[in-house]
């Protein structure tokens, strides 16, 4: 043991003496590149200075640096910084603004959109970015073989949007039908502009999908956004450095980003990220487990960091019952084995319960959300009764109908359905004598979801319904949810996209949507209420009048609430710590909480 101790001690002493943080100190940056003809001036709270490094934790490493093909957030969080978009979405004001397009207008027909590109914009190798690159982006996005996920938003039915470039700095998009949601897919998270001059050959020879992969040398990875790739060590870190040609500036004519380096350190889980923040290795966390908020609240008094309270998250937890029915198969599809059109996927006995709005409302009223908040969320959650949360300043309606905790009323509703416990075993029976019991699935790796499901089970037992909890593997859950439809009820969460607009929620609200969870991909609306919702969605997409859009959306959300298809659970309040060494820190409740304005962060001068 002695030998071991000595080794350990030697290592400890050497390492504490040997570590130097070099790049964290601000260093003068000489901007050698002349500003473009039409620079983009970003408003900043405090003008910063160049230099320094910001280190952020990431639990899963990027899988690709190809902004067009990347699908999961671990990659897109980074590609969003590497590649520009036509328009910007400002997380703080929740409005669209200029980015590569300095301005745009829409013709009165609601279909013809004209974008004016910024003159002098350059990629990270100094090559100009023009309408050519935008057309290339559309070509790639609309390619039938590659089929990037953005493709489905760039067409109406089978008809693609028509795109043309009358001159190198003008792009005209014709959306075939009036489409008020076009900007939603031209900003962050939508169509990225990747440099045509480096990628065209790959596109032509069919290797585009594996171009810009994680093995591509950084100097070959030409980018169009504020950042470029500095270094990627698999399993360890991703380092982004500034794009010296970026067209964004502050009002003092200093080129953005201010920081020399943005580092994503890969950590195995949130707890590890937490420890690394506490030991000073990370400068900010964009996710903290609610159980750890208290530590940060107490320790921010030391003055090294601030815990920003962002309010309820921009996502919702809920559970729903399986109302899927077998539909007549589309060409190329087969009927599920042993089923015929009109059959239910759950037990028809259970379907009859689930399909009764009184049952769904009563279940919602049996759930004690306050108890969940104090246990599962450690007190850091708010009750909320829609997919949109208060952080969504444009589309959140606080006064929708709600079915909050009221076990007495829940029992009354069950009784009104003719259900009673006739054999005295504590479980209700329906009018045919079937005991009311169903299974609830959720993904086992999510402690918060399993915890809430535990409460639902306990709460429903109190009103005479037996819930069998089956936490399962996420992959299996998704198979149940999307393919085989084998479940009674599922508890999951949905994250609102950015921007959180009705147009981006079509997959949930339209009866034909993939995420219309209780009955997915309906060929035609199965209820009058869902037909009305489809109609309202069409109204929203065809009018440019915001007030009319809001009125329609409110009606749609009222229907969702009254039908209690989705039984809403509490929403986590987001608090996140960021080191006080940085200026212009303005975390947002929308996705990319810390990253959305990362190019405006700077290292504050030392106070001496």
């Amino acid at each position: 043991m002695k030998r071991l101790l000595i080794i350990a001690l030697a290592v400890a002493t050497v390492a504490t003496g040997g570590c130097r943080r070099r790049t964290t100190e601000a260093e003068a940056y000489k901007d050698a590149v002349p500003p473009p003809e039409e620079p983009m001036i970003r408003a900043v709270a405090t003008p910063g200075r160049h230099g320094g490094r910001f280190v952020l934790g990431q639990t899963i490493g990027p899988k690709s640096f190809n902004g067009m093909m990347a699908t999961e957030t671990s990659s897109t969080d980074i590609t969003n910084l590497l590649f520009t978009t036509l328009v910007a979405f400002d997380n703080a004001s929740q409005k669209f603004g200029p980015e590569l397009a300095k301005s745009w207008e829409v013709a009165p027909d609601g279909m013809t959109w004209t974008f004016h590109l910024r003159k002098g914009a350059k990629a990270s190798d100094g090559h100009p970015i023009t309408a050519e690159d935008v057309l290339f982006a559309f070509d790639v996005a609309q390619d039938p073989v590659l089929h990037p996920y953005v493709q489905d938003s760039l067409r109406v039915g089978d008809e693609k949007f028509k795109v043309s470039a009358p001159d190198p700095y003008t792009v005209v998009i014709n959306t075939v039908k009036p489409n008020s949601a076009l900007l939603d897919i031209l900003c962050v998270g939508g169509l990225v502009i990747m440099p045509k001059h480096t990628l065209e050959s790959a596109f032509k020879d069919g290797s585009f999908a594996s171009a810009y992969n994680v093995g591509t040398p950084p100097d070959k990875l030409v980018t169009t956004g504020a950042w470029r790739l500095g270094q990627y060590t698999p399993g360890e870190k991703v380092v982004l450095t500034r794009n010296p040609y970026y067209y964004g500036f502050d009002a003092q004519k200093q080129r953005l980003p201010y920081l020399n380096e943005l580092t994503f350190l890969l950590v195995p889980d949130q707890d590890a990220a937490d420890l690394k923040f506490r030991s000073g290795e990370l400068d900010g966390l964009d996710n903290v487990k609610p159980e750890n908020y208290k530590w940060y609240e107490e320790h921010q008094r030391d003055g090294t960091f601030t815990l920003y309270d962002l309010g309820p998250a921009n996502n919702a937890y809920f559970f729903w019952f399986n109302l899927n029915k077998v539909q007549s198969p589309l060409p190329g599809e087969k009927l599920p084995a042993g089923k015929k059109v009109g059959d239910t996927f759950t037990d028809p006995v259970k379907y009859a319960w689930f399909n009764d709005v009184r049952f769904r409302r009563a279940v919602s009223m049996a759930v004690d959300r306050d108890a969940m908040i104090s246990s599962v969320f450690f007190g850091h959650a708010k009750k909320n009764f829609s997919l949109d949360t208060p952080g969504n300043t444009e589309w959140f309606f606080p006064d929708l109908p709600r079915y909050d905790y009221n076990p007495v009323e829940a029992k009354r509703l069950f009784a009104s359905m003719g259900w009673k416990d006739s054999n005295g075993d504590g479980v209700l029976e329906d009018t045919h004598g079937n005991p009311i019991t169903f299974t609830m699935k959720t993904n086992a790796d999510n402690i918060i979801r399993v915890g809430m499901a535990n409460f639902v089970k306990d709460d429903l037992a109190k009103v005479g319904i037996k819930v069998i909890l089956t936490p399962i593997d996420f992959n299996t859950l998704i198979t149940n949810l999307r393919s085989d439809l084998q479940y009674d009820s599922i508890l999951l969460g949905l994250q609102n996209s950015v921007p959180p607009t009705p147009g981006n929620g079509q997959n949930v609200w339209r009866s034909s949507g993939e995420s219309h969870e209780w009955f997915i991909k309906q060929h035609k609306p199965s209820t009058p209420e869902e037909a009305r919702m489809d109609q309202l969605m069409n109204e929203i997409l065809t009018t440019q009048d915001i007030a009319a859009q809001k009125k329609a959306y409110r009606e749609m959300q009222t229907i969702v609430s009254e039908q209690a298809w989705m039984i809403w659970l509490p929403v986590l309040e987001i608090k996140l710590p960021v080191s006080n060494r940085f200026g212009n820190v303005q975390p947002s409740i929308m996705a990319h909480r810390l990253l959305w304005n990362i190019e405006r962060l700077y290292v504050k001068p030392r106070e001496s």
Partner: protein, 383 residues
């Protein structure tokens, strides 16, 4: 991954030694004289008997059902037992104090000094079935309602940790027993067949074991876990876990048994048995396998910790026994967070200690058994 592969390196070592060993001369006497020399092994054995008894009687010993929540008592710390009344007098019957949530955010509880909840034995509480058969509502201990007793605290749902530990032990302690029952049956049978018959049976069985042994066990577990339908009631998940572990475990044993049998086949007593016209199967079952028993007993004892720790690893990978059922593995893994470690340490330490003690007891017992069953070590010890 030492604790995954049931035939431990320890077991392999025994195998090597046992191969060279002939049956002990007066087994019973030698065994007991040797066992007495290792008090740790005896202590381990006693501890295990105690643990298994507790597991069998879990519903009776546990004051509450494992899933019962108390919504006023999340993260309740373990209650201290008091022996002195508030007025300074000694109390023959220990009591616990009612503790109330003092600070909601930090789950800080304060004792109510005025309250006394005397700990009573053989109290009436919820109906249960002891050993799954005897219906009763008598529990070993409890306090008068509405008071609650949490001798080892509660978890995030206000569930009694003692009760969860006891119900969890029914899973964690039997995983090993059922596991070795499966893997040893397979290993003995297939190893015996391979060693005794040789030829194509030997070739096929040995190729299969080679295949199983060539894939690192953890990779096999994870791959198997993906196949294994997780959409099952807890009890079946549990059986599935055991099956996975056992399926991986038998190959190593089969190889050792084959070696033992191979060396024994040549021995006089087998030749004699065959000469007397006994069938081959009978010779294997009645004469050859019993001679491998001392090795098997030791190997089995030393393999059980592998299964217990294997269950923990499966929970770590998210495929163990699922909520709301308890197992030591899932209790340990649910407490695997900074907050639990710093503020609610009992959530980690209670299952951690239970696993640690059990595994250690098995290791000591197995080690003692090995010394006791190995005659060469006896002489070696005296030299």
């Amino acid at each position: 991954m030492t604790e995954i592969t049931p035939p431990e390196p320890l077991a392999v070592e025994t195998a090597k030694e046992a191969v060279e060993v002939v049956a002990p001369q007066s087994p019973g006497v030698v065994f007991w004289t040797q066992m007495k020399k290792s008090p740790l092994a005896i202590a381990g054995g006693i501890l295990l008997v105690f643990f298994y008894l507790l597991a069998m009687l879990a519903p009776f010993v546990a004051p509450y059902p494992q899933e019962q929540m108390d919504r006023t008592k999340y993260f309740h710390p373990p209650q201290g037992l008091h022996w002195i009344h508030a007025d300074g007098h000694f109390s023959v019957r220990p009591y616990v104090r009612e503790e109330r949530l003092f600070d909601v955010g930090s789950f800080e509880y304060r004792e109510d000094p005025a309250s006394e909840l005397p700990l009573k034995f053989f109290v009436r509480a919820g109906p249960i079935h002891i050993l799954g058969l005897i219906p009763t509502s008598i529990h070993l201990y409890g306090v008068d309602a509405p008071g609650r007793v949490f001798l080892l605290g509660t978890d995030s749902f206000g569930r009694d940790v003692v009760s969860r530990l006891l119900y969890g032990s029914q899973i964690s302690l039997t995983v090993g027993i059922v596991g070795i029952a499966i893997s040893f049956t397979l290993g003995l049978l297939l190893g015996g067949i391979a060693g005794y018959f040789g030829g194509w049976a030997d070739t096929i069985i040995m190729r299969i074991t080679e295949l199983l042994l060539s894939v690192p066990s953890l990779y096999l577990i994870i791959a198997l876990r993906a196949v294994f339908p997780v959409d099952l009631p807890s009890r079946q998940i549990y059986l599935g876990i055991v099956a996975i572990l056992a399926f991986i475990g038998w190959a190593g044993l089969a190889r050792v048994i084959r070696g033992l049998v191979l060396s024994m086949r040549k021995s006089d007593f087998v030749t004699a048995a065959e000469a007397l016209g006994f069938s081959r199967l009978r010779v294997i079952a009645r004469h050859v396998l019993p001679n491998t028993m001392s090795y098997v007993i030791v190997a089995a004892t030393l393999s059980i910790p592998g299964y217990i720790l294997g269950e923990v690893v499966l929970s770590f990978l998210g495929v163990g026994v699922q909520e709301p059922s308890a197992s030591w593995g899932n209790m340990l893994n649910q407490a695997r967070s900074i907050r639990a470690l710093t503020t609610f340490p009992w959530l980690l330490l209670v299952p951690g200690t239970a696993i640690f003690l059990t595994v250690m007891a098995f290791n000591f017992l197995g080690d003692g058994l090995r010394d006791a069953l190995d005659p060469r070590r006896v002489s070696g010890g005296k030299a």
